[in-house]
């Protein structure tokens, strides 16, 4: 039924079964952070579970470096998981009976790596996530944010190619959540892993994602960069999310510039629109946008900036 294009509601009416995820095709590129954003029940968790093969897909393929994960037997899948995949869970999924360092070393332990080696590696990643000194504490002695750092360390310890994050920060309170997002951005700038990140928080998606997929009722409404979603929402549903977003913070000079020859003050293409406002207030003349090598790529005038601000209210 799903194959013939019926919607989720129609399938539910006719069969009593809820369609989890359907017709979702996407590629995640090496070193990219790909965020899937959707509200609860949209199928985003089912999606990541299918991709990680915690749930078996009824139909479809998940390929990693050309290998089809969905067709793999348990043994091969286990080997792939040991070497290439890792996951950070919404409710941490830590082992309360193991110390922080034994939690972090778990992935290495199941691979049969000696205690000295796996502890050395665990020490390294725990330091990386800022948990040095907590190695011999137990998870329940740590705050939620620190627990998720343990989850992160555990995922990083196996040196995976692909990291899955299933709403990792949604159980944390807002300030801790922001810290953890910053931490992830910092780590990712060093490590450059391929990340599939699930969230229900549009702001988080925009902050972290190189590309974002908006998911609703088991299908993708739109895939694009943050700026693409904001400037050119594909559906009303996507538009609704972009409403509350302070666009001046997300959009860059490159997103709002027009072709033209400048000569006045220069701004970089990746500067946020927000940072242009003080310049505009000082002097209404258009700004010249230059790329990394200093070549002029366009101009931004007052109207363009005002349009961004106006749309937000």
């Amino acid at each position: 039924m799903a194959e013939s294009g019926s919607t989720r509601a129609e399938v539910l009416d006719a069969t009593g079964c809820t369609l989890g995820v359907r017709d979702v095709s996407f590629d995640v590129h090496l070193g990219e952070t790909f965020v899937v954003m959707g509200l609860s029940g949209s199928g985003k968790s089912t999606l990541v579970r299918c991709v990680a093969r915690l749930t078996d897909v009824t139909k479809g393929q998940v390929t990693l470096d050309g290998d089809d994960l969905t067709a793999m037997d348990e043994r091969t899948l286990r080997q792939i998981r040991r070497k290439k995949l890792s996951m950070v869970f919404q409710h941490f999924g830590l082992f309360p009976h193991r110390s922080v360092i034994d939690n972090a070393a778990y992935g290495l332990e199941v691979q049969g790596i000696s205690k000295a080696d796996r502890h050395a590696e665990a020490h390294r990643v725990l330091e990386l996530v800022g948990l040095k000194g907590y190695e011999y504490h137990y998870p329940q002695q740590l705050s939620g944010g620190m627990q998720q750092r343990v989850g992160l360390a555990r995922a990083l310890a196996v040196d995976p190619e692909v990291l899955f994050f299933d709403e990792p920060f949604s159980a944390l309170d807002p300030l801790i959540r922001r810290d953890m997002q910053d931490e992830l951005i910092r780590l990712q700038s060093d490590l450059q892993r391929t990340i599939v990140f699930i969230t229900h928080d549009f702001a988080e998606a925009i902050k972290l994602g190189d590309r974002i997929a908006i998911m609703k009722d088991g299908i993708f409404d739109q895939i694009g960069t943050a700026a693409e979603l904001i400037t050119n929402p594909a559906t009303d549903y996507v538009r609704e999310f972009t409403h509350d977003i302070p666009k001046a913070k997300v959009l860059t000079a490159a997103d709002v510039m027009q072709p033209g020859e400048g000569g006045g003050r220069q701004v970089r293409a990746d500067q946020s629109v927000e940072s242009l406002i003080p310049l505009m207030l000082d002097d209404p003349a258009p700004l010249t946008v230059v790329d990394g090598s200093g070549l002029t790529v366009g101009i931004v005038d007052r109207t363009a900036v005002m349009a961004v601000l106006d749309d937000g209210s």
Partner: protein, 638 residues
């Protein structure tokens, strides 16, 4: 049910669907009664098809015990192995100086900083020694720990298997149910046949008794491990075995241990009965005291059993405490172990091993005087009470069921009741069960026991439900009741039956009283729980409508607590059945007496028939009350 339109209340006209079954019941019962009125008892010619083959099997076993490979190759070596484990543990406990034993047990609690528990362990063990029962206590401790160890050895893998394979659980569940429903003493005779007398049949009976909770709680514990933890393990490429050993089992340990502690406490009840089949330990002083009617000494020994129960419970709790942060540093523990070893060596070489003679059980003899005084001065009450129970409560229904009602009527009525409460499968099952009871010649004895069971259950509930409601509504009442209830359940019933026998003389009455005391405990507990579980919101809603406390109790609390209370009734009945053998020991007659007789004279055939009758009765009553509890539950939301 048709409701007349436009009027308030129900129509006078009854739907045929409502009254037809009842008419059939009355009509059928009357017809059967008339047809079979000439023969009141179960036809005797159908009896004994079971007894003689089993007796033959029994005597075959007796003659072939030393020669047949079934014994020489299987049961005897198995029996010897179990026996040597128990003996070795017992010998070790008696070889080590007593103060070392006490210190070592206390250390288990100290290790996780459970200071109060350590004090309880020390005090309890000291009591058993001070009263002159050190040796018996160590024997009981050995028997219990060996049994529990065996139960874990068998139950743990079974529980894991059931947790991982739901199909296994479906198959195992009915067996576990029966194992838990059947009173433990029923296993005694067959085990006695297979393993001979002594510690082994007692240990095996305890294992059988302790196995179901171990399996169940292992399964439960593993299922309770959060999915995220299991998935995390899988995501890191752990094999199912790695996930089990490194994640699921360690996380389930707490649940398993907690359940085991409960089981150990309950299994201690077997200790006294185990004396009947020749086990060593604290049972024999209790049984002796009963025979000599020495209340005080019975109490002294009974308290020693309670002390051992407390030790096992606290030790178990300490072992279940998995929080690594509570552990004392390793070097302190190593130091303590070293100190214990040194103390052992010094104590052994100095010859200071056995507990010094402080007191003995005669310390409790003054209690005897009190009981005798009560016997002589309370006759004005005990006599009439005893007479009332026998002539008004016990004899009339017993005679009615045995002499007046024709047996097919009972089978028919039981079938009808089971059909109404559950379904026709259950009706067929109970009717067949009743027929089987009749066929084994246990008809009259079973009815006799049934009447006693019903009286004891009714009296237990009459005490337990009001008490439970009271405790459920007041924290303070519960705080006062809790230790009393604990004591009532842990003190072997044979201990408090001694004064009861002295006061009421042997017969049906002391059995019933002891049963009520023992069986009301779960009734109180579960009723209190049920009342407390009622959502505060419902109670407050009732109050805002201006309901009086009484209206709230009868209109809201009790109906909402009813399913839980009914589950308590089920427990009470099972406890009452477990006491049947005790009533037999004090002259209650019926199936209980036959059980004791069969055990003491090795009447295998008779023992089997009695056992079968009790098992079948227990199964009918268990399922009946369970179905009743289900019916009381409000319809579940979809």
């Amino acid at each position: 049910m048709t409701v007349a339109s436009g009027t308030v209340g129900r129509s006078v006209r009854l739907d045929t669907r409502t009254w037809a079954p009842w008419a059939a019941l009355v009509g059928g019962a009357l017809a059967l009664q008339l047809a079979f009125s000439s023969s009141s008892g179960f036809p005797a010619e159908l009896d004994t098809f079971l007894e003689s083959p089993i007796d033959r099997a029994g005597s075959w076993m007796r003659t072939n015990r030393l020669s047949h490979p079934l014994f020489t190759k299987f049961f005897t070596p198995l029996s010897n192995a179990i026996d040597s484990v128990i003996t070795h543990i017992g010998d070790l406990l008696l070889w080590a100086p007593w103060y070392v034993v006490i210190a070592a047990f206390m250390m288990i609690a100290v290790r996780v900083r459970m200071w109060r528990e350590a004090a309880v362990i020390g005090g309890a063990l000291f009591y058993t020694g001070a009263i002159g029962l050190w040796e018996e206590s160590m024997q009981t401790l050995a028997l219990m720990s060996a049994s529990v160890f065996l139960a874990v050895l068998i139950g743990l893998p079974l529980g894991v298997w059931a947790a991982l394979r739901p199909r296994v659980e479906t198959v195992a569940r009915p067996f576990l149910d029966v194992m838990q429903t059947v009173p433990a003493f029923i296993y005694f005779l067959p085990l006695f046949m297979l393993f001979g007398i002594g510690n082994v049949p007692a240990a095996v009976a305890t294992v059988i008794y302790a196995l179901p909770p171990v399996v169940r709680l292992t399964t439960l514990g593993i299922r309770q491990v959060p999915r995220s933890a299991v998935e995390a393990s899988e995501m890191f490429g752990a094999t199912p075995r790695q996930t089990l050993v490194k994640v699921q089992l360690p996380m389930a340990v707490r649940t398993i241990m907690t359940g085991l502690s409960q089981t150990v406490m309950m299994a201690l009840g077997i200790v006294v009965l185990a004396t009947l089949i020749g086990a060593d330990g604290l049972g024999s002083p209790v049984l002796q005291s009963l025979n000599q009617r020495r209340t005080g000494r019975g109490m002294a020994a009974g308290l020693a059993i309670v002390a051992i129960a407390m030790v096992l419970d606290r030790v178990w709790r300490a072992l279940a405490e998995r929080d690594p942060m509570r552990r004392l540093p390793r070097r302190i523990m190593l130091g303590a172990v070293a100190a214990i070893v040194v103390a052992t060596l010094i104590g052994r070489s100095a010859g200071r091993v056995s507990f010094p003679h402080l007191w003995d059980m005669s310390l409790f003899d003054p209690i005897d005087n009190g009981v005798e005084w009560a016997r002589d001065n309370l006759r004005w009450f005990t006599r009439p009470f005893s007479d009332f129970v026998v002539t008004k409560l016990y004899l009339p229904p017993r005679d009615f069921l045995i002499d007046t009602v024709a047996w097919p009527v009972l089978v028919f009525v039981t079938g009808f009741a089971c059909w109404r409460i559950k379904n026709w499968q259950f009706a067929v099952f109970s009717m067949c069960a009743l027929l089987a009871i009749g066929l084994t010649g246990m008809w009259e004895l079973s009815l006799d026991t049934l009447v006693q069971v019903i009286i004891a259950t009714a009296l237990s509930l009459a005490v337990a439900v009001p008490l439970g409601v009271w405790a459920g509504r007041s924290r303070r009442v519960e705080a006062v009741l809790a230790p009393v209830l604990d004591a009532m359940q842990t003190i072997p019933s044979l201990v408090y039956i001694i004064p009861v026998v002295i006061l009421f003389t042997v017969g049906v009455v002391p059995g019933i009283i002891a049963t009520v005391v023992y069986a009301m405990v779960p009734g109180v507990r579960i009723t209190a729980l049920g009342i407390r579980e009622v959502a505060e919101e419902s109670v407050e809603a009732s109050r805002t409508f201006g309901a009086t406390p009484r209206q709230t109790l009868f209109g809201v609390r009790l109906p909402l607590a009813a399913p839980t209370i009914m589950a308590g009734v089920n427990q009470v009945i099972m406890m009452v059945l477990a006491m049947v053998i005790i009533t037999g020991l004090v002259g209650g007659g019926a199936l209980g007496f036959e059980t004791v007789r069969a055990l003491q004279r090795s009447l295998f055939g008779l023992g089997f028939e009695v056992g079968l009758a009790l098992v079948l009765m227990a199964m009918i009553l268990d399922r009946f009350t369970e179905a009743w509890a289900d019916r009381l539950k409000p319809p579940a939301s979809s």
